[in-house]
């Protein structure tokens, strides 16, 4: 019986999205990044073109309360200084892009005024040259004003702003459309909801190349299997030709640091920091194997591990 290698071809293709703008393009970033563009299953280089390898977006949070203690200890005091934190992501930790989370705008927590958040954004922009994502605090009313301010302050930079949700996307979409930024479209672990979210944005007038999807990454041990399968299905839907599913996918793997199994002290399960490091790296890696084009990560050691693994995955064919 002769062996005939079974290869798969697809009608559809993932769209490309461009993040960040250089001086020539009207921004101040050192380069712009392109994600997506693949015409096959994730990293299946032996049968399809994979023009861009998945990228790491390290996050910078404007309040250290969300960073677990193990990680604060290893990342150092910079978690209290977002500008320094961002600089490290760029200069030492090899991040491809940055995500600034303006959590402290949260009216139920620090409730930091929009002007202060905008000032922080400007400082981070000035101190770094990586393409940027900026997320609000998740409270619709506050975010409407906040994201409008960010969108204006970052005019020309081709930011990606988030998160657009089914019930709260209009102000975000309007702000980014006015200034040429992209949008991160969040949906809740469901292929139909992901599609619905994209349709809402497209109907509103957002161009398809300005959308990146976030189908919600559940961390390792916290429902990862749901996210894994939703992404595999999203990818297959896109490849089989559904244009509304062909947007690149971003996954937030930093959620790994909220998993008790990953961060609790239990000597039987080995060194906590290394376990947490593996936890975040595996969460991100599984996202890529399932179809993610970008992953959001927090711990520099996890980023290093992940990057090496993705290089190995890209190097094979």
């Amino acid at each position: 019986m002769a062996f005939d290698v079974p290869k798969e071809r697809f009608a559809g293709k993932i769209r490309e999205a461009v993040i960040g703008a250089t001086r020539e393009q009207g921004g101040t970033r050192r380069s712009s990044l392109v994600v997506g563009g693949s015409g096959g299953l994730p990293m299946h280089r032996f049968e399809s073109e994979v023009p861009h390898t998945p990228l790491v977006v390290m996050d910078v949070v404007d309040t250290p309360r969300v960073v677990p203690e193990v990680l604060q200890a290893s990342m150092g005091p910079i978690v209290k200084d977002p500008v320094e934190w961002a600089k490290k992501c760029e200069k030492e930790w090899g991040s491809d892009a940055l995500l600034l989370r303006l959590q402290s705008a949260n009216p139920e927590e620090e409730n930091r005024p929009v002007e202060q958040c905008e000032a922080l954004f400007r400082d981070v922009l000035k101190a770094t040259t990586l393409p940027m994502f900026v997320y609000g605090c998740g409270f619709e009313e506050k975010d409407a004003k906040l994201m409008e301010a960010i969108s204006n302050a970052g005019r020309g930079e081709r930011l990606f702003l988030g998160l657009a949700e089914e019930k709260a996307f209009k102000s975000l979409a309007a702000a980014s459309m006015a200034t040429g930024h992209g949008i991160v479209a969040f949906s809740n672990l469901d292929i139909n909801l992901a599609k619905q979210m994209n349709i809402l944005l497209l109907d509103f007038g957002v161009k398809p190349e300005n959308i990146i999807m976030d189908p919600l990454m559940a961390a390792l041990g916290m429902g990862l299997e749901y996210s894994y399968s939703v992404m595999e299905r999203l990818r297959q839907g896109a490849l089989s030709g559904d244009p509304v599913l062909q947007m690149p996918i971003i996954c937030d793997a930093s959620c790994a640091w909220g998993v008790p199994d990953a961060v609790e002290d239990d000597p039987r399960k080995g060194n906590v920091l290394q376990r947490g490091t593996n936890w975040e790296a595996i969460t991100a890696y599984s996202a890529v194997v399932a179809g993610a084009d970008l992953v959001i990560m927090r711990n520099p050691a996890s980023v290093a591990l992940f990057k090496q693994a993705v290089k190995d995955l890209a190097g094979g064919a």
């Binding site: 990293m43 593996n278 090496q308």
Partner: protein, 442 residues
Amino acid sequence: MPTAMEIYKLLPKKNCGECKFPTCLAFAMQLANQKVALEACPYVSPESKTILEESGAPPIRLVSFGLGGEPLKIGDETQLFRHDKTFYHPTVLGVIADDSEGLDRMKAKMEAAKAAAFERVGQRIRIDAVAVRHSSGSPQDFLEGVRHAAAMTFPVILMTEDPKLMAEALAMCTASKPLLWRATPQNLDAMVNVAKACAFPLAIGGAGSLDELSQLADKAKKAGVVDIVLDPGDSSAGKMLETLTIIRRAAVKKKFRPLGYPTMSVLGESVEDRMKAALGVMKYSSIVLMKEMPPESAYPLMTLRQNIFTDPQVPIQVKPGMYTVGEPNEKSPVLFTTNFSLTYFTVRADVEKSKIPVWLLVVDTDGQSVMTSFAAGKLTPESVAALIESEKVKEKSTRNEIVIPGMVSRMSGKLNELTGMKIVVGPRESSGLPKMLKSVAG
């Protein structure tokens, strides 16, 4: 499974009725539906019998090895993507004890592997096997290692390409039905003879291509080895994804028999290998062997395996009803949570940390988490109130109050109205429970 027509063509066409069916065609139809056994017809030719048995076999052979009592089962997968149905046989994780490391180190590694077992969301997860390998060390150390593994009563994989040494080693652990690694183009005939004599499964590897690997497997099979494991031996993660995907596709979609076997990935200890192990779990390795598996990498890997091999239709769940933590009495607090295993065990562990005995009421949410079931309308004040009633909560605890998850504080009013109990809104994360319980109970 072949169709009724395909089966019919292979039957004797005597229409004699001895199978208890009037015609051969009627019998063929029953066979196709797996309602009867082929043995019912006394006249099928041996050739037809072989063909029919082959075509009825699953696309990937089920292979088992390890201890007689609770053997490890690998293969028999039918899907490329878990969402299409499910993945059935979780990747076997094993540690390699190599004789180049010396006997003491080998023994220590084996003991550590056996000890690496945990309870996670109500399931047992562990390192499943040890692989004893002969490389540059002394054959004596290797055999001593094998003896040690056999005495440990733990699943064993014997790793040597020397057929004579293999025969010696397997004689020492016949009771534990080891997997033999491996036959290669250089030693195929001799190794096949060793495997045939003991009828233990045999791994095949060292081929230059998948084509060659399939030919070696075919040859071994024709020589009489039935249980085969394929070791494509890939240099990079990208290559590993490629070969394992192609093997799975060829077996499942094309029913290409020479590759219709479980697979294995033999890895080292580099950073890349750590992540390749994760790739193997997700993308079709039936066995992943690593040189080092310290708990901080083994534990996340086992968790990943547990996630990937969960049935996508049925979340892991616990039985609804009243549970106790410690020995609660009528003064002890009552808490409720959902019957999603992850939720239940997380909450339970946090309650245990408080050292305060409680009544823990577990509401049937079809195995969904608190927020998921609340958002889906499966966790309602009514469903909680009904369980409070049927579990006679008010008789068990006379406090007449219940602690509810912080995330569903919105159901307080209605739940109070339905039960007359005082509602205490707990923390959003159960990690806040120890602190809160101390103040509630104190």
